[in-house]
């Protein structure tokens, strides 16, 4: 009972942390996430817009912007609630008082980390929905409900392919848990791989003509449409990486180092907590440590393809928390703990 109260208090701190960054309105230039839909055919990044379309019967997009802000706040609350539930499950399975305190304080570290204000900051972006889906899937996987756990990662890439970077730590720990526990390998590997297949389907089945028509009918400026054509139609992994290598990385090495140093401290502390709490129950300890670290920093790979540096680096805070949770359950063969 005291732990529940402490976690609730830390969750409230997470709420303050989100408020610290919460933007006043939908960020400039990202209206298309809410306006693009499947009306003209299957196109990527249009699921949110398709779900939002029915609301446009009740008001114009401008009138409905406060609804997007409300949805954003609701998603942030959902993320905090899911993190609380996941941490509670791990704490409940621990007998050692030191471990229980360390896990609870790791949750506090996550709630205060730069992840939370950054999530609040990006109103209108779809990151909060991607993270919510990933956390729901982790929650289901922890309960060994793999049949349901595959659904969120199936949907995530339909919202945005960057779901792969949110999902990377989950995929890594699921795959490694097969190696160390040799249990439910097929289910876990399938769950881990689902978003890769889903992303491939999104890329393969997108209709360029439908995307062109959808962009043409958007009520935004021509400048924005031009940018969107490049973003929706021409953007590939290779072109994104080439752009980053040519324009963003040269001369900015010190900036990248500064950002990584600042944003990854909470991740390092959460990983240290994972080692402290679960080292003794890990099988293949040193290899598991390498896997845990790799999983925690895996979302940082997104900066090879996108220039919103901190927006993607802070995902590592969440990734570290996911690996901490998984390291005490999936990687320790204790996912059956109630």
């Amino acid at each position: 009972m005291p732990e529940r109260i402490v976690l609730l208090a830390f969750a409230l701190v997470g709420g303050v942390s989100v408020l610290k960054g919460l933007g006043p309105d939908v960020a400039d230039g990202i209206d298309f996430y809410w306006l693009l839909s499947y009306r003209h055919g299957f196109i990527r990044r249009a699921l949110i817009g398709t779900l939002f379309q029915p609301l446009l019967k009740y008001g114009s997009y401008q009138q409905l912007k406060p609804v997007i802000l409300d949805l954003h706040i609701a998603a942030c609350i959902a993320i905090i609630a899911l993190c609380s539930a996941l941490f509670w499950r791990v704490i409940a399975g621990e007998k050692s008082p030191e471990n229980r305190v360390t896990l609870a304080l790791s949750f506090l570290c996550l709630m205060c980390s730069p992840l939370m204000p950054t999530l609040g900051h990006d109103v209108g972006y779809v990151d909060v929905y991607l993270i919510t889906l990933a956390l729901i899937s982790v929650w289901l996987a922890q309960r060994r409900q793999y049949g349901l756990a595959v659904l969120p990662p199936l949907v995530g890439p339909l919202i945005h392919e960057s779901f792969l970077f949110v999902w990377a730590p989950v995929a890594i720990v699921l795959a490694w848990s097969c190696v160390v526990t040799r249990r439910e390998a097929l289910r876990r590997l399938l769950t881990a791989a689902v978003p890769v297949c889903s992303t491939a389907a999104v890329v393969f089945f997108q209709s360029p003509s439908a995307a062109a028509r959808a962009i043409e009918t958007l009520p935004v400026t021509e400048t924005l449409k031009d940018g969107l054509r490049a973003y929706e139609l021409d953007q590939t992994v290779v072109s994104s990486f080439a752009m980053m290598r040519r324009y963003q990385f040269p001369g900015n090495g010190a900036h990248v180092a500064t950002s990584l140093t600042y944003f990854l401290v909470p991740s390092a502390l959460i990983i240290a907590a994972a080692v402290f709490c679960h080292w003794r129950v890990w099988r293949l300890r040193w290899a598991t440590l390498v896997v845990v670290v790799a999983a925690a920093i895996s979302p940082v790979a997104a900066i090879l393809f996108a220039w919103d540096l901190s927006r993607f680096v802070v995902w590592s805070n969440l990734a570290a928390a996911i690996t901490l949770i998984a390291s005490g359950t999936l990687l320790a063969g204790r996912d059956e703990v109630p």
Partner: protein, 200 residues
């Protein structure tokens, strides 16, 4: 105390310290070439704490070579928005009584002592100069006026305004140049700022 318990104490103390630090620190949003720090809906006193200052110091030099700031510095008058003033070809601005120009949008530079300048010219509509108020300010929640001048300016005149952009001002606010007409008419030809005289 066992070794394990000692380890737990050390780890937990560091975790709590880091949590307090990051909770009080501003929201940091970085791109590859520019960093923006802000407090949106947190108490104002958050900005007076040590974590706020440490974070501001840590990211202060981040914006020293920001390409956007360099572009603004080359042709600032082209990025000023007319608030009732009349835009003329060549990024000139005719400013009459009650009219103003202000901008640019989201100019982030490192802290330090700078000198801002405004250069005036003449046109058929504004042949003899006029009275104008020139300000360098940091608008927004943590806004301050850093330099202020009011007086008559003549065509061909250059007004220089030294100002100090302090660490927290540089971190939490953007820099804005503003010219407001008080009397008659002036033609703003150029505006800009020098490289920092000293670090903030």
């Amino acid at each position: 105390m066992t070794r394990r318990r000692l380890l737990a104490v050390v780890l937990n103390v560091v975790s709590v310290a880091a949590s307090i630090f990051y909770l009080l620190a501003p929201t940091v949003y970085t791109f590859f070439s520019e960093a923006q720090l802000s407090y949106s809906r947190a108490p104002r006193w958050f900005a007076t704490t040590a974590p706020a200052r440490v974070t501001a110091r840590f990211f202060d030099s981040y914006n020293a070579t920001a390409p956007r700031a360099e572009r603004f510095q080359r042709q600032l008058s082209c990025f000023l928005t007319d608030l009732g003033a009349t835009h003329r070809a060549g990024c000139l601005h005719e400013i009459r009584r009650g009219e103003a120009v202000a901008g640019p949008a989201m100019l982030k530079i490192a802290s330090g002592r700078y000198v801002a300048y405004f250069e005036f010219g003449d046109s058929e509509a504004c042949p003899a100069g006029g009275e104008v108020r020139l300000q360098i300010l940091t608008p927004g929640r943590f806004g301050r006026i850093l330099a202020d001048f009011s007086g008559r300016v003549l065509p061909g005149e250059r007004i220089e305004l030294p100002f100090q952009l302090k660490l927290m001002d540089a971190a939490l606010s953007a820099l804005e140049f503003r010219a407001t007409g008080i009397n008659e008419c002036v033609l703003l030809r150029r505006a800009g700022w020098t490289q920092p005289v000293t670090a903030g």
